[in-house]
């Protein structure tokens, strides 16, 4: 009797298997992922704290004081810099979110809507710098819009002397950011909508007599927002601290805080690094402040709209609001497409006088200067491939570990994942450079790759996790019951079945790496040139034709990778009907 009880208890463990090497390696994957994300950020933040207090032995600073902060506060235009950064984060987040929500609220299955939805994924892969250049080429005094209207409507025979791009309050920069963030938020919303069963919420409320927009805002939006909150925070943080877009579209004197910090830390006068360190921490403070203000606004809006949710009113300027959303998304899509077209035209433009709509002549001369393009191109591709490959292996290992242990990562893991998307890069990258210098790590290829992984890994994870978890567990059960080991099941069943999402995740990661400006610039000490750093370097007064070539090449790289991600599965699975349907 007692014997039987003991035996029963001991047989509770179901799967007893000597731990394999692969299992042990996989078990380490989550820790590796967390380390790859958190260590650089924490080391980077730690790396600026001491210098901001005047302590940087390498430069002879051995006493702790508040002098750097005093100098920082005395910088001319600092107040404006801070305000522009703060304002840019909040405005971009608010405008992009409102437009996306109104678009979804008023969405009908019209042709234009479908076209816009289909356009967002490719637009998302366009690097920020390229999109910003395209936008600048559109709205500049000698840009496409003015040319379209001149001289017949404006009477201008030469470009007007207006500060449209680089305006002092950063409005052009915010517009460019809104244009780029709308596709991102829209995609995030579209992937979250099925989770809240939006279609049935709409069916219920419309059958109760609510007009579509009111129904959506009252029953779908409150459930959707919590699911896209982290992406929204990422947009706010990004827009309050962006460097490359700010260099291209933003004000210059005073510049947004992030740009000012980069200027100080690349000052030949090395003693400016103390101010830069203090500025980096101030940037962190500004971004945190933007998020805190946003959070308070969230609470206030939730409170203020509660009575409205329950007041029974069934319509709400339906047509007008739907139109705002549609025009907003339409404008973003159109501007992005026209911007890319402008880049393309400039890259092959010969003589192009104002106000001619198109160049008089075309030339491939700039593309022909391949020798200048080849180096940055190779560096961009190599850094992109290596950092994405490392991120991808780590992410797949973490997901595989999760699957084998039957435990999924909790909400805390997601918060860690968003850490690099919320902490301003300026704040920790510079500290990372200092930390690397004190440990004797020289700037160059590997520090750049490690820096890129911090930004690539979260996107690879976000793009792959859902597909990995959604794979029917019965596939693995069938394989095991047929005698296949977990490793064999991974290689012969899960990996082939997930080929398509894996390639897409790889393309997403690659696109993120290609778009990196600051990480490459700082961790390579300006000595490693990629397409992005070369293009951004030309942002002030560079030859538009060269910019066109570089920015277009920068946009084409991710596009090629996405084409591979779509094309390869189609080729491999051309005789496998069910595999072709898999996203």
């Amino acid at each position: 009797m007692a014997d039987g009880a003991r035996r029963n208890r001991s047989s509770v463990a179901i799967i007893v298997r000597p731990p394999r090497l692969s299992d042990r390696l996989l078990a380490a994957a989550p820790a590796v992922a967390v380390g790859l994300l958190c260590l650089p950020i924490l080391a980077g933040l730690a790396g600026v704290v001491l210098p901001s207090l005047g302590y940087l032995p390498a430069l002879g600073g051995t006493t702790v004081s508040l002098e750097p902060w005093r100098q920082l506060l005395a910088e001319p235009g600092l107040q404006r810099s801070v305000l522009v950064s703060l304002f840019s984060g909040l405005t971009t987040g608010a405008v992009a979110l409102v437009i996306v929500f109104l678009f979804l609220a008023g969405a009908a299955d019209t042709r234009a809507d479908r076209l816009m939805r289909r356009a967002i994924s490719p637009l998302l892969s366009v690097p920020h710098a390229a999109a910003a250049f395209g936008f600048a080429f559109l709205i500049a005094p000698s840009g496409l819009f003015v040319r379209l209207l001149s001289p017949w409507a404006t009477g201008w025979q030469r470009p007007p002397d207006l500060l449209i791009v680089n305006d002092p309050w950063g409005l052009a920069m915010m517009a460019g950011l809104v244009q780029k963030e709308i596709p991102f938020l829209l995609l995030m919303c579209l992937s979250a909508l099925p989770q809240i069963d939006a279609a049935r919420r709409m069916a219920v409320s419309r059958s109760l007599g609510y007009r579509p927009v009111a129904a959506w805002l009252k029953t779908v939006a409150p459930a959707l927002y919590p699911l896209v909150r982290l992406p929204v925070y990422a947009v706010i943080a990004y827009s309050s601290s962006v460097v490359d877009v700010a260099l291209i579209l933003g004000p210059s004197n005073p510049a947004p805080l992030s740009v000012a910090v980069v200027k100080w830390l690349s000052d030949p006068d090395l003693s400016r690094r103390y101010v830069a360190s203090a500025g980096a921490l101030l940037q962190l403070g500004v971004t945190v402040a933007a998020l805190v203000i946003w959070r308070m606004a969230e609470l206030a809006i939730a409170r203020a709209t509660r009575p409205w949710l329950e007041n029974g009113s069934r319509s709400l300027a339906d047509r007008g609001l739907a139109l705002v959303g549609r025009l907003g998304v339409g404008a973003a899509v159109l501007a992005s497409a026209l911007g890319l077209a402008s880049l393309a035209v400039w890259s092959i433009a010969g003589l192009w006088r104002f106000p001619d709509l198109l160049p008089r002549s075309f030339t491939l001369e700039r593309w022909g200067q391949a020798s200048t393009l080849a180096g940055p191109l190779a560096a961009t591709v190599l850094i992109g491939l290596v950092s994405t490959a490392v991120s991808m292996s780590t992410v797949v290992a973490a997901l595989e570990n999760e699957l084998r242990r039957g435990r999924s990562a909790g909400p805390r893991a997601l918060q860690i994942l968003y850490l690099p998307l919320v902490v301003p890069p300026v704040a920790f990258l510079f500290g990372l450079v200092i930390a690397a210098e004190t440990t004797g790590l020289r700037p160059g290829f590997w520090p750049i790759v490690l820096g890129h992984i911090v930004f690539v890994l979260p996107y690879v994870y976000l793009s792959l996790a859902e597909a990995y978890r959604r794979l029917d567990p019965r596939w693995s059960m069938i394989a095991a019951s047929l005698g296949a080991s977990p490793d064999s099941t991974f290689l012969r069943v899960r990996l082939p079945m997930l080929l398509s999402p894996c390639l897409t995740a790889f393309a997403v990661g690659f696109a993120v790496s290609v778009g990196q400006y600051l990480a490459t610039q700082l961790l390579g000490a300006g000595r490693v040139a990629t397409l992005t750093t070369e293009a951004v370097a030309l942002s002030t007064g560079g030859d538009r034709r060269v910019i066109g070539v570089l920015a277009l090449a920068q946009s084409l790289l991710p596009a090629v990778m996405f084409a591979v991600a779509v094309g390869v599965p189609r080729l491999i699975w051309r005789n496998r009907r069910l595999m072709r349907g898999r996203a």
Binding site: M477, I478, G483
Partner: protein
């Protein structure tokens, strides 16, 4: 060669609520039918026997094939052939590829065995086909062939006929039971269709009452 499948004092519970309590012996070639409404723990019992029980369940008891205890082995070493409602043919492999997946490595003349298996089910020449292009009945037969080629010691059937058309159901049912009997496999069938139990012809246990 063929051994009986024994479930020795199997008890499965979740959060203190007992779902399954079963003690049974299934002789080679015989079918034990477990019936019960959805949520009664039928599929949980199969998961326990096959080695996939979710860790949120508490389970005790032993599963034996002949005298050998299999409940301490990992799923892939238990040799429990599994059939679901869906044929679950790997969509990235051809029909032959699916069957080859079942044949153990090191087996002699693997391809010939696959060809012979296809022929035995009236599916000659289907090897290179995409499984998605097969009819429901053909897919069900390939799924069973795949299990049989893996040389299981017992069969676990999780409502394998539930999604088939009425007329097809009888045909596939007798195909499965006849093969199981011929190979001398003890079979555990989980279903909520009384007609399945009648066709199986063995003893019936009802859960969740």
């Amino acid at each position: 060669m063929a051994a009986a499948l024994r479930l020795e004092d199997v008890r499965i519970s979740i959060g203190g609520r007992q779902l399954v309590a079963l003690d049974a012996r299934i002789a080679p070639g015989e079918v034990l039918t477990v019936m019960g409404p959805s949520g009664s723990g039928k599929s949980t019992l199969l998961a326990f026997v096959a080695g996939f029980l979710d860790r949120s369940f508490d389970a005790s008891g032993r599963v034996l094939l002949g005298e050998a205890e299999v409940s301490r082995l990992p799923a892939e070493a238990r040799r429990m052939g599994l059939l679901f409602q869906d044929p679950m043919l790997f969509p990235h492999l051809s029909v032959a590829g699916n069957l080859l997946f079942g044949v153990r490595s090191g087996t002699l003349q693997r391809r010939e065995r696959v060809e012979a298996a296809l022929a035995s089910a009236g599916l000659d020449g289907f090897g290179e086909r995409d499984p998605a292009t097969l009819s429901g009945g053909q897919q069900a037969r390939v799924a069973l062939l795949r299990v049989l080629l893996s040389e299981p010691r017992a069969l676990l059937l999780d409502e394998p006929f539930a999604k088939l058309d009425q007329e097809l159901r009888g045909e596939i049912r007798s195909f499965v039971f006849e093969r199981a009997r011929r190979e001398g496999l003890p079979t555990l069938l989980v279903t909520h269709d009384p007609a399945d139990a009648v066709a199986a012809g063995g003893s019936v246990v009802t859960l969740g009452t």
